[in-house]
Each structure stands twice: as structure tokens, then as C-alpha cells.
């Protein structure tokens, strides 16, 4: 039987964990570490990966998991929620916590004091949203949950005056499947199966975040070729997602040819994924404790050819779209995210980079991406509108194509010697995994006890971006801008709702 060599062990406990004696202490520590200042273009040194409730032996505890950019250093902060002491809400100072605090409140009944907007979030069907704008001529317009042609279920309440949108309240969690609860008591393999189904169009991102969290918990250090292969899947996923979002944007602006051609690019990427892994959505591509047994040398020519064809087509039609004034006109100044929101709401992903914030897991943790052709793409205009998001996506497409090429070449030239995980893996541990998915940072947190999952927490990129979506929509836009804004954000409800 194989045993895991010594170098494949990483420390069992998070390098740094701290149990705050009181909730006030907890809040202070969190604020001190995490708040980003507006003058700074870089992401804050400490990033908040997870904020939620964890079931301790007797009671509930508040858990925040942080990671320091550029290092392996993690920080797990907990505080008891059972002592009946007051819990001051942080959402006023740090609106990124608006929704997470609501969720904690709804799960535990423990009320954050002075929370600006305390409404149940997990049971949308039991809450009637009320109009927020007042005055003559204000109309409330409900939209959803069944909306548009083919789209995910979510509800939006518009307050409008004439065409102008005054206020928009998104209501999600219609698709809450309780995945985090479902994972409790399951084996690592079963949890991975669930992780793949959190957000289908981010399968690879969620699966590799989950796999690295589990592997950290069970103290298995993946060798480089495993990391490269996972990154390859994530980049391939980014390609089809960006093609999809660009196509939807073209459709929202009435550019039918652009839409059809970009949808074609997406289909080609999906077929490439199916050719390589057998699944169009990369289900099962990420393996626990190892890599696939694809013969990369054989697959290389086919991959290069399909990739070039898709790349040429996308760039050709993006060029045509960029030269179409009626298209660009629809994007400029539409759905603008203010720079200060990006900071206050700790935005991630394309949305943040379109505001000029340099945040990207691949940039903040440049471990195994060096030499793959990666560079961070922030919008040069940094206007935070639909046009900036369009530009960032196009740039990222090109970067990802470069990365896929170089990663496959690397894989083709590496001898793989997978060290099978030993049967006597440790039976308990904690782990965090985070990945830059197509929409932004995906983070998974697991606690394993007795070989089974004891706690599982998921924060997808969309969960940090949704709260800003309403603000950006009401930011001087009219009703007919909504499809453009929706498409330019490209958010996932499934990832948020879990």
C-alpha cells in the first residue's frame, strides 16, 4: 500500500485560529483586518472568504475565515452565538455583510443590532417585498420569479417613476437547495459530487475549490501537475462562460448576429470540454487526490485546433461589435458600479475588476500560474459600467486562451506520477479552498471529523456581487436597460442560493 510522503503533509490546524471572547471582539478584529481603503487599487491584504454560522458541539458559533493575499496564511475567527450578549451589526460600516448577517439571523434567530435592512432572506416565498420609493407617480413593478425566455428563478421589485428605475430589490434563494446542510455526514467523494452541482456553469471552479479544501483538511498536498490540470479546467470553464455572457450581452442589445455567433463559440468550447472529459460541463473532471488519466500529448492537436477556431471567431465578432455604435451606446454608462461600492461591498471578480480594483485569486496568490501567460485584466477606463465589464471579459478571454495553451503544453511535457492517497489519511481536519472562477472568487470551507464532513460552507462569487446589483440597476438607468445590466453582470442565482 502506498503511503503519503512526508512533504505531502500540511499542518492540520489552520495556521491561525482564534476564538473571540465576545462578539464585540469578533467584530473589531474582523473590521481591523479586512476593510479596504478607497485609495488603494490592490485588494486588501486580508480577504474575507466565508462568513456564517458553524455548529459547534453545543451551540452555534459565528465563523469568519480570512486569508492573507500572497501567502498561505489563514485566519479562522469564531465567537459564540449562544451567550445572550448583544451582537452589533457590522453592516453599517461594511455593507458586504448585509446579506450574510441576515442569513445568520435567520438560521439562528440571533439578531444583529442596528442592522439597516433586516428581512428574512432564505424564505423568499414567505416575504412580501414592499416598495421603497415614495411620492407621486411611483409605480412598483414586480418581475419574476419566472421571467424572460430561459433564465434562473429570481424575483425583482422595481420602483419606477416613468421609465426611470428609482429602486430595485432583488429577492433570491428561490433555488435554495440546502446544499451546505446536505453535505453534513457525507464522505469526501459525495461532497465533491454536491459541489459540482452548486452552480452548473461553475462546476470546475466549485469542484476544485472543494477538492482543495478537502485535501487541506485531510493533509494531502497536490503535486504541480494536479494543480495545473485543475487550473486548465477552470480556464476552459471561464472561456465558455465569457463567451456566453458576451453572447447574452449582444442579445440584450439586439445584436442577433453577434449573439448567434458568440453562442456558437460557447457551444464549441462546451464540445471541446466534452471531447476531453466526457462531460460538457466538466462534471467529474476534477478528481480528489489526483488527476485524470487523459493523454495530453494525444489530445494536444485537437485542442489547439478547436481553440484557435473558437478564438478567431470570438475575436472577429467582438471586433465587429466594438465597431457598432448602437451596441456600444447601450453599454456606456449602463449599470454603473461606483468605485466606493466596490470597496464597501468587497466586490470580487469581473465586476470588481471593471471598477479598476485589482482583485483576482490568480493575481493575489500567484502560486502555480507563473509562466502560464496570466496577467490581471482590469478595465483601463475603470468606469464600472457595462462597457467596462464587456472589455474585461474580452481581455480575460484572450488571457485564458493563452493559459489553456500553455497549461496543456506543460501537462503534455510532464511525467505524471500520481501519489495515490493512502488509506490511512487523517480522519479529521479543517480546510479552505478558493479559486478564481468565471464570475469571481469561489470559496469552500470544510471541517472533517471522523472521516465525515462535519461542516461545509460555500461562498460563490455571485454572493458578494448580488447586493450591488440592485444599486447599480437603480443608478440612473431606465427599464429597458435592465436586460443589458443583467447580462453584463452575468450573475448566477444557483451559486448564491446554494
Amino acid at each position: 500500500m502506498h503511503t503519503v510522503p512526508e512533504r505531502n503533509f500540511v499542518p492540520a490546524m489552520p495556521s491561525n485560529s482564534y476564538h473571540a471572547p465576545s462578539l464585540a471582539d469578533f467584530s473589531n478584529m474582523l473590521l481591523n483586518r479586512c476593510l479596504r481603503t478607497a485609495s488603494d487599487d490592490d485588494a486588501p491584504t486580508w480577504q474575507l472568504l466565508y462568513y456564517g454560522v458553524i455548529q459547534e458541539t453545543h451551540s452555534n458559533a459565528l465563523l469568519a475565515v480570512l486569508v492573507r493575499s500572497g501567502s498561505e496564511e489563514q485566519f479562522w475567527l469564531t465567537a459564540d452565538l449562544s451567550t445572550r450578549e448583544p451582537w452589533p451589526s457590522l453592516a453599517n460600516d461594511w455593507p458586504a455583510l448585509l446579506w450574510p448577517e441576515r442569513e445568520v439571523w435567520e438560521r439562528t434567530g440571533y439578531e444583529p443590532l442596528d442592522h439597516p435592512d433586516l428581512l428574512p432572506i432564505l424564505h423568499p416565498h414567505l416575504v412580501d417585498l414592499e416598495s421603497r420609493a415614495e411620492g407621486a407617480g411611483v409605480f412598483s413593478l414586480p418581475l419574476g420569479p419566472v421571467r424572460a425566455d430561459v433564465s434562473e428563478s429570481a424575483f425583482f421589485l422595481f420602483d419606477t417613476v416613468g421609465e426611470q428605475i428609482m429602486h430595485l430589490q432583488p429577492q433570491l434563494f428561490y433555488k435554495h437547495r440546502g446544499i451546505e446542510q446536505l453535505a453534513i455526514g457525507k464522505t469526501a467523494e459525495d461532497v465533491l459530487l454536491l459541489a459540482e452541482r452548486i452552480s452548473g456553469t461553475s462546476t470546475a471552479a466549485h469542484a476544485s475549490a472543494c477538492a482543495s479544501a478537502l485535501e487541506q483538511a485531510l493533509r494531502w498536498q497536490p503535486p504541480n501537475h494536479v494543480l495545473w490540470e485543475r487550473q486548465l479546467w477552470v480556464e476552459l470553464e471561464r472561456l465558455y462562460n465569457h463567451a456566453h455572457d458576451l453572447s447574452q450581452l449582444a442579445s440584450a442589445a439586439g445584436m442577433t448576429v453577434g449573439q448567434a455567433q458568440l453562442a456558437r463559440v460557447k457551444e464549441e468550447c462546451l464540445r471541446l470540454a466534452a471531447d476531453l472529459t466526457g462531460s460538457r460541463y466538466l462534471r467529474g473532471a476534477v478528481k480528489l487526490f489526483g488527476s485524470s488519466n487523459i493523454n495530453w500529448r494525444l489530445s494536444l492537436p485537437h485542442l489547439e485546433a478547436s481553440l484557435s477556431a473558437a478564438d478567431d471567431r470570438l475575436n472577429h465578432f467582438v471586433r465587429l461589435l466594438s465597431r457598432t455604435p448602437t451596441f456600444i451606446d447601450r453599454l456606456v454608462g449602463t449599470g454603473t458600479v461606483k468605485r466606493e461600492w466596490a470597496d464597501k461591498y468587497s466586490l470580487v471578480g469581473v465586476t470588481a475588476r471593471a471598477c479598476g480594483v485589482k482583485t483576482d485569486i490568480r493575481h493575489d496568490f500567484p502560486t502555480h500560474y507563473t509562466g502560464t501567460g496570466y496577467e490581471i485584466c482590469t478595465s483601463s477606463m475603470a468606469t464600472g459600467d457595462a462597457k467596462s465589464r464587456f472589455d474585461v471579459r474580452v481581455d480575460e478571454w484572450n488571457v485564458s486562451v493563452r493559459m489553456v495553451r500553455s497549461l496543456t503544453r506543460r501537462l503534455a511535457n510532464t511525467e505524471r506520477n500520481d501519489i495515490p492517497a493512502s488509506r490511512n489519511l487523517p480522519r479529521e481536519g479543517w480546510g479552505v479552498g478558493f479559486v478564481e472562477g468565471a464570475r469571481g472568487r469561489v470559496a469552500h470551507v470544510v471541517v472533517v471529523a471522523d472521516g465525515r464532513t462535519k461542516f461545509y460552507g460555500v461562498r460563490s462569487a455571485s454572493s458578494w456581487i448580488w447586493p450591488v446589483f440592485g444599486l447599480a440597476t437603480a443608478n440612473g438607468n431606465i427599464q429597458t436597460d435592465f436586460p443589458v445590466i443583467d447580462a453584463s453582470f452575468g450573475l448566477s442565482c444557483a451559486g448564491m442560493d446554494r
Partner: protein
């Protein structure tokens, strides 16, 4: 105005009795004559309302792919309808969650008769990995009658086209055109 009242009754079952463990609600099954009428009325063009009752979004992605130039299901006379009031077919994806149950019933109620329901993906048929979740209500079949099941996680666009042709009774024609 529907002249023949029998057409207003629901459902025929294209699926085998694989799912017979699921308690069926007391819906009147559609008989052969009505089925023929349905196919006569809608055999050539179907308008489809899609509803997501708790999916992971991969199913939506595949449903959307039907309209891309590779599959172009418009050539077969299938179209997406933006309102259930204009739809002949309800295409359900996802694991039915508590929050979506009433929405699903309301959408189904809003459809004109005759109507057919297609469950696409493992989730609406069985629940898949979400079956044990306390948020999961049950197979869609336990809430509204389902006429065709398209398994897969997610079902590929070809499988979806197959299911649509099957449900509208146009399989042979589909084979000719393929």
C-alpha cells in the same frame, strides 16, 4: 373556446412506468383521442415555457443552447414563449424547492389547455443529489402531471430535442429530418 371538453383534461404518459413508485395525484389521464387532437393542433409548432424550479443552471444552459446555430430548434417549429399564457409546453428543470412549489403550480395553472409538461434532467424527475435535502419537495410529478421525462445531468441539447419531438408525437418526422 375549447369545443371538446375532454381536451381540457390532462396528461398522457410518454414515460415508462419507471417512476410508478411516485404517488400520482388524481389527474384524469388523457386518452388516445385527445392525444391525437393535441398532436393535430400542435403537431407543427410548439411554444415552450421554461421554468427553473431549483436547478444548478447547467440545465438552463443546455435549454438555451437549443436556440444556437448548431441546434437551431426553430427549424423544427419550437419556440420559447415569454409567458405561460402563450405556451403549449411547460419545460421544467431543477429540483423542486419549497419556495418554487407554488410558483410552479401557478405557472401550470396559467397555461391554456391542452398543455403538456416535460421534466428535463435528473433533478425534476427524481431529485438527484438533492433528493435528501429538506428543501426538496419531491419529483415534479408529485405536484403536476408530467408527460415526458428527459433524463441526464444535464440532458444534452440532442436529448432535449428528442424529448420535445417525442412529447409532440413527431418522432418519425424527427428521424426523417435528422
Amino acid at each position: 373556446m375549447i369545443k371538446d371538453p375532454s381536451i381540457a383534461s390532462h396528461s398522457f404518459s410518454v414515460s415508462p412506468d419507471t417512476y410508478s413508485t411516485v404517488p400520482k395525484p388524481d389527474w384524469q389521464q388523457m386518452d388516445d383521442t385527445t392525444l391525437r387532437q393535441f398532436q393535430k393542433k400542435f403537431g407543427h409548432s410548439l411554444h415552450i415555457r421554461h421554468i427553473d424550479v431549483g436547478s444548478c443552471n447547467a440545465c438552463e444552459s443546455e435549454v438555451l443552447a437549443l436556440s444556437n446555430p448548431y441546434y437551431n430548434f426553430h427549424r423544427l417549429g419550437f419556440f420559447f414563449a415569454s409567458s405561460p399564457r402563450h405556451a403549449d409546453v411547460l419545460l421544467v428543470t431543477g429540483a423542486l424547492t419549497k419556495a418554487m412549489k407554488d410558483v410552479l403550480m401557478a405557472t401550470y395553472e396559467a397555461m391554456p389547455r391542452p398543455r403538456i409538461v416535460i421534466a428535463a434532467g435528473v433533478c425534476p424527475i427524481h431529485g438527484g443529489v438533492f433528493r435528501d435535502s429538506e428543501q426538496f419537495v419531491g419529483p415534479v410529478e408529485s405536484v403536476i402531471p408530467v408527460d415526458a421525462h428527459i433524463p441526464g445531468c444535464p440532458p444534452t441539447p440532442y436529448a432535449l430535442i428528442h424529448g420535445l419531438l417525442l412529447a409532440s408525437g413527431r418522432m418519425e418526422e424527427g428521424a426523417e429530418r435528422a
